[in-house]
Symmetry: C2
Subunit: 429 residues, 2 copies
């Protein structure tokens, strides 16, 4: 039985998938030590000014600037040092005119003072058990001060929810006392392997068989996208148990991925499973290479992705269709792969009847982005994937490209994303 | 007591640190499901060709190409279909001239056949319980075949040791049957907080005090660099216990980081601790902003980093000096931050008496890299760090830069590194 499928353009396929994506507002609290790489579930606002008080960035003396008004080499001014303030301490007495306070880096400025003299610029001496310091120039008001709120003023919106937490964000969270942080719950992505030709990774090779590489690859892609993976094993090639296993798994996860078909002779069981589930098929063919045989269906709250069994096609399908759903559920406003342009570093002579996603390697030359196909680029290739950090996107209906051509790229290994990278890429009809 | 320190150029400081780095060849075996983001400890070689046999990329029929030699619309050729081979199965009988085999995507080509006819291009019929297929054109030898080894030939060097394992690498590992993978052991990095002005993240603010942001930030930076962090708490400000805590911790880790000084009055205890340990001080001041007050010492097999207590200075110090040691111990041949150039997107008017590391944000405009200072850029700033994904490196001895200028950048969030990014950056003397 030959099923006829009608391919739709990539941009339309992504649009359909995104419409089916539901924003999840579920969040959980994690300890700050577990926050790195999670996604903020609430906007991060400055709870207080930073620094929270006027302070000194240097070791030195806090003074009344007016006391230094007439100081010069010829007319040095001597002030009595009444106290020493270490970082974390506060001055215990009011500082009068003619007095100074020895102050350590990071310490709070006494409220009466308004300038800092760096240690190196003062001469010190002791007389009759009293400490003194002498200055030979004017230190204007505000000299060498770190003002309260100069870094961040109270209430400032610092980081938007939906942003991934990096080491700098962690520093901010600590600054504002977030011992626990509200982060988005990781969506759960189930994976089924399919294919009677597949051996497990621990098996010896047999004639006609290959080891299953898609499952382990997908588990890592899911982790990279920030979600939680659940592996459900290999689907049986018998309809009823295949149906019941898919149905059982689908209620446990947000997204369910199968790769390849489940064949009984000529016959792929999966369309029939979708049919019996009464799942809503969004599309089952896309005008793209690799990955044209990609099916997406919705069933209750679960999105079901039938990705190609070919490693490269499966890889691309995940990044283009599944990743943006994961990111959207985690509140990202830029859930798609980050889009840019690059100079093609070598010829790619194949014609492109459909939008083609060439697995490529990104490099910087000066301030220019360059991209090269990362090797053997058939849909069933696996070797090129390890060197892939971009997709070079060649629009359908174009001929071969040559070295030096400017091409669209989608960048994989970046925390940044794009809001909608598809406008100019969707020229395939 | 005013200690006089002599600053050395950044490139020289990095060089001294790198000379003290020891390559570690220790590795451990992890299950493939735990391999993502770890570092390969051995070269990944192709254990067998990929694909391991000639196979078909399409559903169709395997034939002797010579049988189709004279086939045409006017002169169709009919072949008897003797068997069906599913993916994972092998043909059970020799295929004679005049015979064809129904074959599924991914299945092994029968050894006598040398071309594949796609299903859509054959007419099929059954007569007297025998299956037949008819073709109307010539299918030359090799038509539609995926050849044994066309993706990877046996023995090919695929990925060098020292490379981070990405989802594509995982697919390769699975393909070649690596149930367990040899990866580099993560170096252990100890962290001590210092500073009597520091509150813990869970504490309420008090006058003159701020919360400790460096520790949590460093723990995340250590994780990002691929190492294992151990937090030893805050150092006491009493010499003997400070000394014994540092000594005790140093034998447990590969690298020990302190941030800020340990002050008793005017006096920083740390130089005295290094002295009593008889540690070898590589340098204690660098001609850079922020982070000029950075001390690096070696003691037995442990590298000891005294980073600045200022958040931005601490952040930069870690990435420039500690990260390359971590990467080197994990066998990377490009352990430094990845270097490129970028167009400055806004003015940076400060002069640069020393090499300056401006915390910046990277963006792509077309195929060009752009970088903008990410906000308030004083050494004690914390707000800008959350938006930092590059350092804009401005050489010492230069005046302000203006929008549109081409500047050196070091990229933080990339798995790629540089071998030695410092040649042209080391113009500060």
């Amino acid at each position: 039985m030959l099923e006829k499928r009608t391919p739709i353009p990539v941009s339309q396929a992504v649009e359909k998938v995104m419409k089916a994506a539901t924003h999840s507002h579920s969040s959980e609290q994690v300890h700050i030590t577990k926050a790195y790489r999670r996604i903020l579930a609430e906007d991060l606002l400055a709870k207080h000014p930073v620094p929270p008080f006027d302070r000194t960035p240097y070791d030195g003396f806090a003074i009344h600037s007016d006391d230094s008004q007439n100081a010069s080499r010829e007319n040095p001014v001597t002030l009595r040092v009444i106290e020493t303030i270490g970082a974390g301490s506060v001055c215990e007495q009011p500082v009068q005119r003619g007095e100074a306070v020895r102050i350590m880096t990071g310490a709070m400025l006494p409220p009466e003072c308004d300038a800092i003299v760096m240690l190196e610029l003062a001469d010190t001496f002791t007389e009759a058990d009293e400490d003194y310091m002498t200055i030979k120039r004017h230190f204007p008001s505000g000299h060498n001060l770190s003002y309260k709120g100069e870094d961040v003023s109270e209430g400032t919106m610092l980081i938007e929810k939906g942003t991934i937490i990096n080491p700098g964000t962690v520093a901010l969270l600590a600054t504002f006392g977030y011992e626990y942080v509200s982060v988005t719950i990781k969506p759960t992505i189930g994976v089924f392997a399919t294919g009677s030709e597949l051996l497990e990774v621990e098996d010896e090779l047999e004639p006609g068989k290959i080891r299953n590489s898609n499952t382990q690859m997908l588990l890592a892609q899911i982790e990279r996208a920030g979600a939680e993976a659940v592996y459900f094993g290999k689907l049986p090639d018998e309809f009823e148990s295949c149906y019941s296993q898919i149905k059982e798994a689908a209620v446990k996860v947000d997204i369910l991925i199968t790769t390849g078909g489940v064949s009984v002779g000529d016959f792929d069981l999966l369309p029939e499973v979708y049919d019996k589930l009464n799942a809503d098929i969004l599309f089952n063919k896309i005008a793209m290479r690799p990955g044209s045989v990609t099916t997406v269906a919705t069933w209750n709250d679960t999105l079901m992705f039938g990705l190609s069994g070919n490693p490269s096609a499966c890889y691309v399908g995940f990044e283009v269709f599944v990743r943006p759903i994961i990111k959207t559920r985690m509140l990202s406003s830029t859930p798609h792969l980050s889009k840019a342009k690059a100079i093609l570093s070598e010829d790619f002579s194949k014609a492109n009847p459909f939008t083609r996603f060439v697995r490529g390697t990104l490099s910087y030359q000066g301030h220019h982005l360059h991209a090269a196909p990362s090797g053997f680029n058939k849909s069933n290739a696996v070797s090129s994937l390890a060197k892939t950090d971009v997709f070079i996107v060649l629009p359908g209906g174009t001929r071969g490209y040559t070295k030096g051509d400017l091409v669209d790229i989608l960048i994989l290994d970046t925390e940044e994303g794009s809001e909608w990278p598809w406008e100019s890429l969707s020229s395939s009809k």
